[in-house]
Subunit: 251 residues, 2 copies
């Protein structure tokens, strides 16, 4: 660690009023003892992948790293901005390549261009809600087995193409009592969440428990405060997700 | 303070690794003893106003409060998301109405619709860089005296229309050694910064010292890390600004 990095870390007394919920909500579901991917090396390339929650309306013409417009206003923007701000000497290169509506097989279709070609050192992936949701609303015929097979194949392909990659696997989540999601989602969607958790363990990934973070958050304000429709996070939800992500990945 | 709010604040031990720069950079230029506007009341309306730095490419069709797209990926999105996340029981209503390219007189032209009609309890304003910049690049003929008179008039009008309003005045900033800004900006722009500081004192506003935050940040990485062109912040810069804003306003 360089001298100035030590200076950076020295004064860690923190008036937590402004960000009071970080420790309360996030610490309640993410242990500091969890395995972390926080050994960022200088010049590391970090890639956020996923569906609309990651996409966040980003501009897709230039797709620049470390660029606000290319991130869009979502959790990935806040988390990546936090990483960049906290690690100014590391020269991190961070991409967002989430695309709205994506299911796992659609990630696979664009994986060469939107993952392997970027040669990420760290891949963060949040996927799965559309794999279930679209069976309800768009007549999508994939099953939870399709999802499991597709996700495992995608990650095997990733590890084969980029053997040293560190994986961050995010728990897909829903919030009931919202305009888009009711109790009938919970049991079938749990099967998808279980698949992601199992695969995260198989691939020795850092695990980001978004569902648990939201479950804790709704003790303080109703579901509609944290999400727009039960699937997409509100601004408060984006901040919650970013904090959970940083806590899980960096500690 | 409600019971659950106390629960929220109880566990304030914070592993600062993820956000190490908050205390180091921001605390070096913002004292915890400064007067704060952090007496947010339930249902308070908070308005972010300014130019392109605040605008951040937000969508301007709906202009919803507490909405990611209506905020765009900038410092206001991160700061507002932080406030919403940390105060889930307060029902805060937060707007972004920054517009790219604005100088003070252009804020004045849309002030009825974009400030007074919204009836904010807290107004945060970041303006001034275009009042100087456009004298260099667009032949704008306003002087620093024009700027001072216009800004004072705007805030008098605001206080008259909304007597109880609490003001947060942000220091406009530049970063030299960048593609857009060189040393010849420093002295003339300082006159604009001095005006804003003087007016912040006159109006008993909370002061957000963005220039000092960036001056501290460039000890850790070059100017181009924190800004795109010397005027607009990078993602790291957006996070730095949000943290400075929260530290100044909330503590």
């Amino acid at each position: 660690m360089s001298l100035s990095r030590r200076k950076f870390l020295r004064n860690t007394t923190f008036n937590a009023a402004a960000l009071a919920s970080i420790p309360a909500i996030v610490s309640s579901c993410i242990s500091s003892e969890e395995k972390k991917a926080h050994t960022f090396n200088p010049g590391d390339i970090i890639l956020f992948q996923g569906d609309s929650i990651t996409d966040a309306g980003r501009e897709k013409e230039r797709e620049l790293p470390n660029n606000s417009s290319s991130f869009g206003p979502g959790y990935a923007f806040i988390a990546a901005s936090g990483l960049l701000n906290s690690n100014p000497e590391e020269g991190l290169i961070i991409y967002n390549r989430g695309i709205s509506g994506n299911k796992v097989f659609q990630l696979a279709e664009r994986w060469e261009k939107d993952c392997l070609d970027l040669k990420p050192n760290v891949l963060s992936i949040l996927i799965g809600v559309n794999d279930y949701w679209h069976t309800r609303k768009h007549g999508y015929e994939g099953t939870v087995e399709t999802f499991e097979n597709d996700l495992r194949a995608l990650l095997k392909r990733t590890k084969k193409g980029l053997p040293g990659i560190r994986l961050v696997i995010c728990q897909p989540f829903i919030l009931t009592n919202t305009d888009g999601v009711d109790e009938t989602w919970v049991e079938p969607f749990k099967a998808y969440q279980d698949v992601v958790a199992k695969i995260a363990t198989e691939f020795d990934a850092v695990w980001v428990p978004f569902q648990e973070a939201f479950n804790e958050a709704v003790k303080y304000a109703p579901e509609k405060y944290w999400t727009i429709d039960g699937v997409h996070p509100s601004m408060a939800g984006c901040q919650l997700m970013a904090q959970a992500w940083l806590k899980a990945v960096v500690g």
